[in-house]
Symmetry: C2
Subunit: 232 residues, 2 copies
């Protein structure tokens, strides 16, 4: 097996981190959101569409588990599913997102029946779940590394919502607060897995491509939401 020097690992990790420039925090829709420029209808469109992403996360993570032969990795990865599904009714990240829906004026039913979900969002999210299902599990883990960039985005988003969107009950923002601590824990584990398993230039290129693909997923979700808002 080719083993990497620390320098090679460092430059691989640096290459992964450099993809932050393709992260969706730079999307025009996201910039307008953080600048406080969105109206209630646009916020609602974002929340209802992004919910489709949220509710598919545990299925994406279960697909990774299904492909992963390493018990130790599975044991830690399972926590992500618990974070989103909760351990009882009324708990977990998906529930927290439903409460965000409630806080912005969307009923549970219209969130869960996906009536507001636009095709572009569905295609992008489904592509992500399919990627986790059919690609090698280490690449699927690499695709999750957008979480490296998530805490900054969450912190900025929380500040922006509390400042600009005072019509939204702050209780509704619990999901973002939870991710401030969950995302760093998750990305640390994913980075451990990826640096341990991606030792050759080809494996590292595949991991970087997976992360790039995931940036495309998040970006496309905002493209579709932005377009849906413009069409109103």
């Amino acid at each position: 097996m080719v083993t990497l020097t620390d320098t090679a690992t460092d430059s691989f990790v640096a290459a992964l981190r450099a993809q932050s420039r393709r992260y969706h925090d730079r999307h025009p829709f996201h910039e307008r959101m953080n600048a406080g420029e969105l109206g209630p209808a646009e916020i609602r469109t974002w929340v209802a569409n992004r919910f489709y992403y949220q509710e598919n996360i545990p299925r994406k993570d279960a697909a990774i588990l299904a492909n992963c032969p390493d018990r130790a990795v599975r044991r830690r990865w399972l926590r992500r599913i618990v974070d989103h599904d909760g351990t009882a009714e009324g708990e977990g990240g998906i529930e927290a997102w439903l409460r965000l829906g409630d806080a912005v004026g969307l009923g549970r039913e219209e969130m869960e029946d996906e009536r507001h979900v636009v095709p572009g969002v569905r295609f992008a999210v489904d592509a992500y779940v399919t990627f986790a299902r059919i690609r090698p599990w280490v690449e699927a883990v690499a695709s999750s590394l957008t979480e490296l960039f998530a805490p900054d985005l969450m912190a900025e988003r929380l500040a922006a919502f509390e400042r600009h969107y005072t019509w939204i009950d702050r209780q509704g923002l619990a999901y973002f607060r939870a991710r401030l601590t969950q995302a760093p824990r998750d990305s640390e584990h994913a980075l451990e897995v990826v640096t341990e398993h991606c030792r050759t230039p080809e494996q590292q290129a595949a991991a970087a491509a997976a992360l790039s693909f995931k940036c495309d997923v998040l970006w496309s979700v905002l493209d579709a939401i932005d377009r849906a808002c413009a069409d109103r």
Copy 2:
């Protein structure tokens, strides 16, 4: 939606339970095992090959999670993965099976590197995991219903091992003991899901076919093990 009378549900459940006649406890190899007729080499062949089934169970269950859109079902189904993987190194059903290997004289390495696994076992187990991956999730749940029949088999097996195979340390039988309580809990949940979701004759036929398929998987595993023992 077609709703069933209690009678229709009862007869569906009866049809599922009737498949116990196709369960692998009636396989000649299993009958010889319980009669105390297997030698140490045959027991070892069974333990090493069956381990391939055991280590694939969490991946099969994760595939079901990945396909299941119902959070409440996922929350309960997740427990199966935890039962097999454990929550820490040295815990869980797969670990318990490795200890059974140790008790019958098989090293951890020769269990984990699958050197004793014969092709017929691999094909049957892989077919089961693939079924969970590609079939509708309710059918995959139905395929797990062999657990309805497992407690009787486990109780009989435990008695047989303690009586006939006294060369095996009883500590090694912990997996079988755990399943005495886990299997009824799991099959109760699976039966709830299947009776709730399979309301039409077509859906019920698909569930019965899934359970029949699973009986074939277990039977084929023993066929392949039996053959491997005869070829020694």
